[in-house]
């Protein structure tokens, strides 16, 4: 589904991602782990078109998409959440989710101003669908709330609902469990499994090792922008370099 070849991105003197290559197969849960500053978010920003690669290639279903604008990539079936929340605080919670469904709606300004019967019916259907998504991710009780009224944990899920509203083929989640308590993390675990079971390919960045080891089909370990190791949970866990660089440190916490 997605293939990364020798991807590099530098910021001034810092090489945030360096010569990274890997493949993500359709229908799997693929995790990217590594210490803070390892380049995970930068990798996501490159894949989703928010950053231009310095060099290397990104192939989505065989087509080179490196540096293409994010809205085009969204139309090709990519969707994501953000480590630092990107919620529209000037809108209601439900409207935020409906923004995710934008691509499937009549996008015209004039159509919006005319608001003819057809658009009204589509809006009703879209709202109902998005309410269901809010229920699905567990924020159904905030349907009538403004986004600014939601607690942090709910906002994290609201982002997932918004990403799902796009009906993506490839969903990238950047630390969905960060800042959540134990119960909430377990709920996210179940949620990601449900999403994957519905046929969505998931790429996950997460620090919670239990969550990662539990749900990933494949794990990529980054360290200082470089690929340190790759494989199944068992393979990665057994890799001495990974233990030294990352898991050992994490276990010591």
């Amino acid at each position: 589904m997605l293939e990364i070849r020798n991807l590099t991105r530098t910021f001034g003197g810092v090489t945030a991602v360096q010569e990274v290559s890997f493949r993500i197969r359709a229908g799997t849960i693929h995790s990217v782990i590594g210490p803070n500053g390892a380049g995970k978010t930068t990798l996501f920003n490159l894949i989703t078109g928010l950053y231009q690669p310095s060099s290397g290639q990104i192939l989505l279903e065989g087509e080179s998409i490196g540096g293409h604008p994010p809205d085009e990539l969204a139309r090709r079936g990519m969707s994501r959440t953000f480590q630092n929340l990107q919620i529209c605080m000037n809108m209601s919670a439900l409207e935020n989710v409906m923004v995710g469904a934008h691509m499937r709606q009549n996008q015209g300004l004039l159509a919006g101003m005319a608001r003819l019967g057809k658009l009204v019916r589509a809006e009703r259907a879209c709202a109902a669908e998005c309410v269901e998504l809010m229920n699905f991710v567990g924020v159904g009780r905030y349907v009538d709330a403004d986004a600014s009224q939601l607690p942090y944990g709910a906002l994290k899920r609201l982002e997932i609902a918004r990403a799902l509203a796009a009906k993506p083929k490839l969903l990238l989640l950047d630390e969905p469990a960060a800042g959540l308590n134990h119960t909430e993390t377990q709920e996210i675990d179940v949620l990601i499994k449900k999403v994957a079971a519905a046929g969505v390919t998931v790429v996950l960045v997460e620090h919670d090792m239990k969550l990662v080891m539990n749900i990933s089909d494949h794990i990529l370990v980054l360290n200082y922008g470089k690929k340190l190791a790759e494989g199944t949970a068992q393979e990665v866990r057994a890799n001495p370099e990974v233990i030294a660089a990352y898991l050992g440190g994490a276990a010591a916490h």
Partner: protein, 311 residues
């Protein structure tokens, strides 16, 4: 999701119907008409500033172009007023489209300064092209006539402006609750989120700019016919600031806020009377006090207070 019976729209309709019965003389009609015309322009500017979060302090430039294009097309080319108004709107739309692309690439203050520059250029052109515009002395404009029927007195103008205001409110409310309206508000709230949701944010900014310019153009054309005489001041910096202040004071993204902002900023100077030269100071003061006490603007703040009180 409610359609025809938006409570705010019904309230506005009732107010617009009852208001004339409280007017002792035609001066009141005149003020009301000017409020309505400003409100139409402010509703349009709100689509750009309130919805999409792109601040323009040059929108009177479009108002001026609309007014002068209507005046010139009717007087020098003999176009019927409605055709001229439409022609002016098309011209403004094209112009706005052409300047929007490079302009909206700019961020924050740079964009605002660019709109300021645009307004100044329009003012200079209107002042200097005396052959067409009458220069700083201004030019007279014929009355608004539709199919031989001429709008003569203030009462007829009041009815027309009231109807157009209701239409403008309806269009704005419709847009607010539509995919395009959400896209505009989303790129205001979290631009990267909008982009990764598949929203072409640059294209939407351009479209909001064009639509808001067309609202200003129509308001300008109507103002020209109503006043019967226009001067370049119509496109001036003070007018641009006034329009932006109406949007901010009323409340960003609030359609009724734009209307209330227009009413406040048109009526207050009348009440303050002979303060003409201090008008700018009054606007500055209103803007400052709003920013301090009602940072989100009148309507959103009051709505929030009411909701809290209701709980």
């Amino acid at each position: 999701m409610k359609r025809a019976l938006h409570p705010g729209l019904v309230a506005t309709l009732v107010i617009l119907v009852l208001l004339p019965f409280t007017f002792p003389n035609s001066y009141f009609f005149d003020v009301a008409i000017r409020v309505g015309l400003s409100a139409i322009a402010a509703i349009g500017l709100n689509l750009l500033m309130g919805f999409a979060g792109q601040v323009s302090i040059g929108h009177a430039g479009f108002l001026g172009i609309g007014a002068y294009a209507s005046a010139i097309l009717t007087s020098s080319y003999g176009w019927p007023p409605l055709a001229a108004m439409l022609g002016a709107a098309v011209l403004v739309a094209l112009l706005a489209f052409l300047i929007a692309k490079p302009m909206l690439k700019l961020k924050g203050h740079a964009l605002t300064i660019a709109t300021l520059g645009f307004g100044i250029i329009v003012l200079i052109v209107l002042t200097n092209e005396g052959r067409w515009t009458g220069g700083p002395d201004g030019m007279s404009v014929g009355p608004l006539a539709v199919a031989g029927w001429q709008l003569g007195n203030e009462k007829q103008w009041y009815v027309l402006v009231a109807l157009l205001l209701l239409v403008a409110i309806r269009l704005s409310l419709n847009l607010y609750d539509s995919p395009a309206g959400r896209a505009l508000r989303a790129l205001h709230g979290a631009e990267v989120a909008a982009k990764v949701a598949g929203i072409d944010t640059a294209a939407y900014k351009v479209r909001a700019f064009v639509i808001s310019a067309v609202f200003a153009s129509v308001a300008g054309s109507l103002t020209a016919h109503y006043s019967g005489f226009i001067t370049p001041g119509l496109a001036g910096f003070l007018r641009s600031i006034e329009l932006a202040t109406m949007v901010v004071v009323g409340g960003m993204a609030s359609t009724f806020g734009a209307v209330i902002g227009a009413a406040l900023l048109t009526v207050l100077p009348q009440l303050l009377g002979g303060l003409e030269s201090y008008e700018m100071v009054a606007f500055g003061l209103i803007l400052m006090l709003t920013m301090i006490f009602l940072p989100r603007g009148l309507v959103p703040t009051l709505r929030e207070r009411l909701r809290r009180a209701g709980k």
